[in-house]
């Protein structure tokens, strides 16, 4: 009984002390009253986990800074769930996070199918959902709505950026070589749609599709080479991309046929092949850790490298920005109310490592620049980097708000 009494006294002392410490901020700004809880659903097992962990690392790095100052007297906490690259699992994880864990908003995922499934659930539950890796243009395009946002580029932006980039070169007769899965089809369709728009005289000589995980691409690339197109667009990513690059190098493909692949100049694509990736492949990405060489970007890369032992890839950049979008929107909203959070996030501009980025109001898509370049060996790194980099500014590559209204049937 006596011990119980001492304990109560101790507790009272702690609570009292905490009140004294916290009270100065209370007077100045509206307080959120409790911490912000972010629920992250992403693939943390299997090959896609490299990308998901990269995004999570960028997010954590930004949170360290954000939580030092606090967001209206609160901090941002997060919980993660492994969706195992399955939309069904992802959806039930999202349901659990919203209904059991009572998170304030959802964040995820690398899988476009999961992102679309969670997006529909978020709309039904009126919970904000920020997509940070998956690139399907449907997320903020045809199937976009009030509750879903995208902090990374998408296939529409990528397709248009590539079309703008290669239309400056004299290629007429194109061939398409792509991996038969959601992203492969999405990025390929988008590229060809914009290519026809930017340069109507181009022709499609043929297309070759292979299944995901196809181990030997030599027969495929040899057949494309025999068809002698002016240039080839490859619709692939991740481990499939590394296979294409490897095969290209083995048969000297890029020297014979100009080739372009979205994310071919990306660090996450080039790193696994080290110095043995093919040179001369044209590619695009929305983040390069060595370009632009601005103090902001260098500071971000230094901090990331110090924390995680390697440079950030594009997912880390998206994760980092997502944290600042969340903090910025809650500060602006001054409340934990999801509707006020969404109103605040619409049109919000944040400072990122590559300059100011806006969350566009009409489609909830982050207005990001796309960098285009050609792979080249580097004296500085033990992997290839992009050379002759061209920056395509966000507004140059985004679908217009009219386009968005049209695809949404409004």
């Amino acid at each position: 009984m006596k011990r119980h009494w001492v304990l109560m006294l101790g507790l009272a002392a702690i609570v009292g002390a905490a009140t004294v410490v916290v009270s100065p901020t209370q007077a100045q700004a509206p307080r959120l009253g409790r911490n912000i809880k972010v629920g992250i659903v992403d693939t943390y097992s299997g090959p896609p986990a490299i990308f998901s962990n990269d995004a999570l690392n960028g997010f954590k790095l930004a949170l360290e800074d954000i939580n030092k100052a606090g967001v209206l007297g609160a901090r941002i906490d997060f919980v993660t769930r492994d969706e195992k690259f399955s939309p069904e699992i992802g959806l039930s994880m999202a349901r659990d996070l919203v209904l059991q864990e009572k998170v304030d908003l959802l964040v995820g995922t690398i899988n476009s199918a999961t992102a679309l499934a969670i997006s529909a659930f978020a709309r039904e539950q009126k919970v904000p959902f920020i997509v940070w890796i998956s690139k399907s243009e449907a997320i903020t395009g045809a199937r976009g709505h009030r509750y879903v946002f995208s902090a990374g580029e998408n296939t529409a932006m990528a397709g248009r950026a590539i079309a703008e980039f290669v239309s400056r070169r004299p290629y007429q007769k194109w061939w398409i070589g792509a991996e038969d899965y959601e992203y492969g089809h999405a990025v390929t369709n988008s590229f060809w749609r914009f290519m026809k728009r930017v340069k109507p005289e181009v022709t499609l000589a043929g297309q070759t599709w292979w299944k995901t995980g196809e181990p030997d691409l030599v027969p495929y690339l040899t057949a494309i080479m025999s068809a002698r197109p002016d240039a080839v667009f490859f619709g692939t990513g991740g481990a499939g991309m590394s296979n294409v690059l490897k095969t290209m190098r083995a048969i000297g493909f890029a020297e014979r046929v100009p080739s372009v692949i979205h994310t071919a100049i990306d660090y996450t694509a080039l790193k696994p092949l080290g110095p043995n990736a093919p040179e001369g492949v044209m590619g695009t990405t929305d983040y390069l850790f060595y370009y632009p060489e601005t103090p902001d970007n260098q500071a971000f890369v230094r901090a990331f490298q110090a924390a995680y032992g390697g440079p950030p890839g594009f997912p880390a950049f998206h994760g980092y920005n997502t944290a600042y979008f969340i903090a910025g929107a809650f500060r602006k909203a001054g409340s934990l109310d999801p509707e006020r959070f969404i109103d605040a996030l619409e049109g919000l501009k944040i400072k990122t490592p590559v300059g100011e980025v806006e969350m566009r109001t009409c489609d909830h898509q982050a207005v990001l620049p796309i960098f285009a370049g050609v792979t080249k060996k580097s004296p500085q790194f033990d992997f290839l980097v992009a050379s002759n980099i061209v920056t395509l500014r966000g507004p140059e590559v985004m679908p217009t708000c009219d386009d968005i209204r049209r695809v949404r049937g409004q």
Binding site: G46, T208, W209, K211, V218, A223, K246, I251, P272
Partner: protein
């Protein structure tokens, strides 16, 4: 479409068939002798590829690194096979096939997770030995030197398997056990060890396939699923348990795929499967005599 194009497609298709043959031969051998449909054969192939990666990279930039990996990685996999066979599989040979499929499927999941624990989820890449890098011009078309090397390895592997099954004691016993295991046991031979030997030989071939595919692809979790589906298909169209059937099946698979690319590149994926369906409609028990 000229003859040169067809010829070069045939060549690269054949080189792809060689790895399919080596892996399928191991699967069909185990199927024939042990009557075990080994679902984790694909995992052994994946472990072979990851081991080859680790062995080659641990020897640094040494040009012989990959050659050492070709020789030692299959041995590592054979030892893994031996351990699994002695510890688990050997107790379950008498079970019915459905149980064995479920059981080997379970081992596949476990080996998958062990692979992830050891090598992580990252995908890896290694290069062929320096002498086999780059391409050679054959019929005016660049063909990777490594593909030409595989073309030479395939027949060597076939001859090696023939010598093993026809000229070694254990190989002969394994063939006999495949036909009539009671008879072999009645002759006073320890069938247990014959089975272990046959299983290790199958695992070795899976590992060899994995080591050989490693320099030409990205080494990643999930490569086991792709190969096991193709290998089972090849084994089925070739005739269950028949090594030469596996060779025929692999050739059919590789060639229909690479020539299909010239006919209808957009739908190449379906050609090998169409060929398999056609074969099974005409010869439901496979091209060659099944030992089942």
């Amino acid at each position: 479409m000229d003859l040169v194009t067809v010829g070069s497609q045939l060549l690269v298709g054949l080189s792809r068939a060689m790895i399919l043959f080596i892996v399928s031969a191991g699967l069909t051998f185990v199927l024939g002798v042990l009557r075990v449909p080994n679902v984790f054969h694909g995992s052994l192939y994946m472990i072979g590829a990851f081991s080859a990666f680790s062995i080659a990279t641990s020897l640094g930039q040494h040009p012989a690194g990959m050659w050492v990996a070709f020789v030692t990685a299959p041995v590592v996999v054979a030892l893994v096979g031996l351990a699994v066979e002695r510890a688990l599989l050997s107790r379950l040979y008498q079970r019915e096939h459905l149980m064995l499929i479920l059981f080997t499927f379970g081992i596949m999941l476990i080996l998958n997770d062990i692979t992830k624990l050891i090598w992580g989820a990252d995908y890896r890449s290694i290069l062929p030995p320096p002498i086999l890098q780059g391409s050679a011009i054959v019929l005016g078309v660049p063909v990777p030197r490594y593909s030409l090397f595989l073309l030479a390895i395939g027949p060597l592997a076939a001859v090696g398997m023939w010598l093993f099954t026809h000229r070694t004691q254990i190989g002969k016993l394994a063939r006999a056990a495949a036909v009539d295991r009671e008879m072999v046991a009645l002759l006073g031979i320890n069938v247990d060890w014959v089975f272990a030997g046959a299983f290790v030989a199958g695992a070795y071939l899976a590992g060899l396939g994995g080591a050989l595919v490693a320099p030409s692809t990205s080494i990643t979790l999930g490569m086991d699923h792709t190969i096991i589906i193709e290998a089972f298909l090849i084994v089925t169209i070739g005739g269950l348990g028949n090594i030469w059937g596996a060779l025929l099946g692999a050739l059919l698979f590789g060639i229909t795929q690479s020539l299909g690319l010239l006919v209808w590149p957009q739908f190449t994926i379906v050609f090998p499967y169409l060929a398999a369906v056609a074969v099974l409609l005409v010869r439901p028990r496979g091209l060659l005599r099944s030992v089942w």
